[in-house]
């Protein structure tokens, strides 16, 4: 089936319809509330896709996933500051490609030892990794230490930073969807799912589990880093708060609401999560976290497979369409 043929299948059709709508938001509605809403939503969706590549594909609980977001932010922002004297005359978003590659290389180096440990121990290790890297940036004076690194002196004459950021997020979201979608259909995805289901049995069937796990980890790091770099330049500022653990937890919720290990799940989860959260903040500004917590508990208790997973559980034939 060619690329156009895949577009006519239900799952990509839904995903691309969502992306097309998001692409039309800036020209149709300007850069107002909806623009900001969609931008934050895409930020979380791409990060949820990147977490899904680790936790959803190979089943390793990455509680420190946000480390790649922070590293991406520092890769773009930090390199921009190191290699610029004053205001830049080029598009600062060129640094974003490095903000994807540096975390991916870091993931390969760290993943080799870290992915040998399983279950809760891996979760603790990644959580600690995030804290350790955050501590390094808290004390690394060249990148501003605990005060962070303001980028305004380099970016003040750059035009259209918001709109560039918006479309890079959107591009990353489209890419994250297709990468997830095709990965799950190909040999790589079968290897990932074999590891997810039973790592020892997978190895006995010839799956190079170490290489596959590192690949998944690096894929996740790449997308998280891209978002981090874009976010840093968009915000004009990078600081150790980019490693905030709370973001990792929100990503887990998004992934679980949508459907762990699926191609459509993170996108649906992100839309639902962010819409509910926004509505709750507007309606119950003080109570929204409590209500939101209750909603999350109900979702996890009654539809543990998330939206996509539950539909497939109750209606097995939908597997063919819902990927």
């Amino acid at each position: 089936m060619n690329a156009f043929g895949y577009l006519t299948r239900p799952t990509p059709l839904v995903a691309m319809a969502v992306c097309a709508f998001l692409a039309l938001v800036p020209p149709l509605f300007g850069q107002g509330d909806l623009f900001g809403f969609c931008m934050t939503m895409m930020f979380f969706i791409v990060l949820a896709y990147s977490l899904n590549m680790v936790t959803g594909f190979i089943g390793y609980l990455d509680f420190g996933h946000v480390v790649f977001l922070g590293l991406g932010a520092y890769s773009a922002g930090g390199l921009l500051s190191l290699f610029s004297e004053g205001p830049v005359s080029y598009n600062p978003y060129v640094w974003v490609i490095l903000s994807g590659l540096i975390p991916a290389v870091f993931a390969v180096l760290v993943g080799y030892p870290a992915l040998r440990i399983r279950g809760a121990y891996f979760a603790i290790a990644t959580y600690s990794l995030n804290l350790a890297v955050q501590a390094v940036f808290f004390n690394w004076e060249i990148f501003g230490g605990s005060e962070g690194l303001p980028l305004n002196r380099y970016l003040k004459y750059v035009e259209g930073r918001e709109i560039w950021g918006y479309y890079i997020y959107l591009g990353a979201m489209v890419a994250a969807f297709w990468v997830s979608y095709f990965t799950l259909k190909k040999k790589l995805g079968f290897g990932f799912r074999a590891i997810l289901n039973d790592e020892d049995a997978a190895a006995c069937m010839g799956v190079n589990t170490t290489a596959y796990k590192i690949t998944a980890y690096a894929m996740g790091a790449f997308f998280a880093g891209i978002i981090g770099g874009t976010y840093g330049i968009f915000q004009n500022f990078v600081d150790p708060d980019n490693f905030r653990i709370g973001v990792s937890i929100e990503l887990f919720v998004i992934m679980m609401v949508g459907g762990v290990g699926t191609a459509l799940g993170p996108m649906l989860g992100g839309i639902i999560f962010y819409t509910i959260r926004d509505l709750l903040i507007i309606q119950f500004s003080h109570l929204h976290l409590i209500i939101f917590g209750a909603v999350v508990i109900v979702i996890v208790m009654f539809i543990p497979g998330g939206l996509v997973g539950s539909i497939r559980e109750f209606w097995p034939k939908s597997r063919r369409y819902l990927e």
């Binding site: 259909k185 190909k186 040999k187 079968f190 290897g191 799912r193 074999a194 997810l196 289901n197 039973d198 020892d200 049995a201 997978a202 190895a203 006995c204 069937m205 010839g206 799956v207 190079n208 589990t209 170490t210 097995p316 597997r319």
Partner: protein, 246 residues
């Protein structure tokens, strides 16, 4: 001709316990070798050593003349060997067809890994061979025990490898299923030309299909002979089969 699978003076200790002691045996092409012995005799440990899950403390393992002990598990598998598990381990959240497709995708018996289309064709063939065609879309976790065991066999067949180790594929099956499975194992050799090593407690089946039986007791090989001789061997009777009650 040279042995297809050769286990040479293998010893494996766990702390103070010697699970396998100085065991050697050979398996020739298209042979069915039964591995018997009481619980704890070291049969599954031996499987784990052959497939690379455990590294032997002493001794060597050769697959088609190539030494494999000490290699990572997936590289031992790529020498052309697959196994099933005593306690079944299909991939529970994948469908029957997907389970078998994994087997085919990572089978590299002829040097090149198959394309997705080839793998799906091979998976389809293996699925029909074990008569699970009507369960293709079922999740593996929803199968009954007999079906799960057949699924594991199909997964090894789809890989297209020459040597298959079956770890108690008949345990827990009812007599009818045992007969069916015994026929299936025979067909794996006669129709597909595979070489098989089977661990089994169901004597009726193992005596019928094995060319040769290796008996283990307390980690040591006590006999290695055709089934007819094994059933008369006094040491095997004493250790495992049980003698006439006086």
């Amino acid at each position: 001709m040279a042995a297809y699978l050769e286990v040479k003076n293998v010893t494996k200790r766990f702390g103070g316990i010697t699970a396998v002691r100085n065991v050697s045996f050979e398996v020739s092409k298209k042979e069915i070798v039964g591995l018997i012995g009481p619980n704890g005799a070291g049969k599954t440990t031996l499987f784990n050593i052959i497939t690379g899950v455990y590294k032997p403390d002493e001794g060597e393992v050769f697959i088609r003349g190539k030494r494999v002990d000490g290699l990572p598990v997936y590289r031992v598998a790529r020498q052309g060997i697959r196994r099933t598990y005593q306690i079944v381990r299909p991939f529970p959240e994948m469908t029957v067809f997907e389970n078998i497709t994994v087997g085919a995708l990572f089978g590299e018996s002829n040097g090149a890994s198959p394309t997705t289309e080839e793998a799906e064709r091979m998976a389809g063939d293996a699925m029909r061979f074990v008569e699970l065609g009507n369960k293709a879309e079922s999740l593996a976790k929803n199968l009954n025990l007999g079906e799960k065991k057949r699924l594991e066999v199909a997964r090894t067949l789809a890989a297209g490898v020459e040597i298959i180790l079956l770890d108690e594929s008949l345990a827990g099956l009812n007599p009818f299923e045992v007969d069916q499975a015994t026929i299936l194992i025979g067909r794996i050799r006669s129709e597909l030309g595979k070489t098989l090593v089977i661990v089994e407690h169901v004597m009726r089946a193992i005596m019928k299909i094995s060319d040769r039986v290796v008996a283990l007791h307390h980690g040591e090989k006590i006999a290695d002979a055709p089934p007819a001789e094994i059933s008369k061997d006094p040491r095997v009777i004493d250790a495992y089969l049980g003698g006439v009650v006086h």
